[in-house]
Symmetry: C2
Subunit: 209 residues, 2 copies
Amino acid sequence: MAERSRRASRPSGDDRQEAILVTTEALLQSRDFDSLSIDELAKGAGISRPTFYFYFASKEAVLLALLDRVIRQVEERVGALPREFEADPASAWRRSIAVFIEVFSEHRAVATAAMSVRSRNAEVHDLWSRSMLSWVDYTAEVIEAERARGAAPDGIQARDLAASLNLMNERVLLAAATGEHPAVTAGAELDVLVAVWVQSIYGVISTSK
Amino acid sequence: MAERSRRASRPSGDDRQEAILVTTEALLQSRDFDSLSIDELAKGAGISRPTFYFYFASKEAVLLALLDRVIRQVEERVGALPREFEADPASAWRRSIAVFIEVFSEHRAVATAAMSVRSRNAEVHDLWSRSMLSWVDYTAEVIEAERARGAAPDGIQARDLAASLNLMNERVLLAAATGEHPAVTAGAELDVLVAVWVQSIYGVISTSK
DNA sequence: ACTTCACTCGACACGGTGTTGAGTAATTCG
DNA sequence: CGAATTACTCAACACCGTGTCGAGTGAAGT
């Protein structure tokens, strides 16, 4: 929108804003979000602390901007996926879940920082909530469609199932990203998650005692 | 162990320690853990801020003590449960999961505070991790036993499945406790979680296209 | 009686946050 | 072209919460 700086003696505002974002994500690779001081982010971007406040209201606001980019990326990639569950449902679910895993691990630092800040910061919480909500909606919709066409058996509320599965993914991927214990075997996350999803959406209990 | 205070003019150390714990859990009912200052906890227990440090090294240490009690309670109650999966596996799983839900909601405030602090505090993180680990171990053991006796079909690693399911429970219950969105329909948590557990442990995919 | 031990707090130093107010360099406008 | 405006910058300050230090106090043990 803005036609900017044609050879400015000091870097333009957009550059500095970007520099703050880049510095923050870089520092986040090796450091805890909480341990970052605004002074560090400012210094990293080549500005003073007060100047930082010209661009962002707080370090949480920086994280919010970073998280927003990551979420947009997931949305883009998930949106680009074909919605074909008829032929091979397991593969279709697998493709969707794979997108999360990819983006989550590409931006591990931002994702884990966001998860840890979520409980204290309303904006981060809301942004994440809203995305989760849209993924849960999508999941519930597909489950209902699968039940309608007879591919999946009826059971608990589709929306509750969808919420549980999505929350499971969030937590399992977070555990994997931070190297927590317990966690799913490294590298097996996709297989394991898909197995639970498919099992609980399409599975029936074998009554053979 | 210690034979204490027979009529002391000032309250005994144990009383004050307890007062800090009580005050903290009380404040946590209505307030964010982060928003609590040590001064408030001290004032609430009728002591000065420096005196607080005589009893606890930080407010995180108070939370750690509180969390420890909650975890012990879960362990006690789960340990008291009969381990009889043969006759009615679904009910057996349901009983175990129900214990978590009960204790979790009885001490909602402590549980949610602990979850939000976990990422910043190694001791809280480790304490919780250790408990999760023991629950995952137990779950994996039972799954393997169920597979061995032919009640459950083989599938992904029992330990990975156990980890995923336990992490799902943690996250779903946290979402419920904090009134997040998305969350499972209030009151339906137990049914939903049991459904997913049973389905993914015992279920087989209906191959009827 | 004096020593020791458990406990208490006033006062301080420190570190991080957010704001204020004065300044400078490009840009726009008459 | 020169003046006003806009965009940006930072030194300095006020504030708040943390953690520590060192001097106390009173009960219990010897």
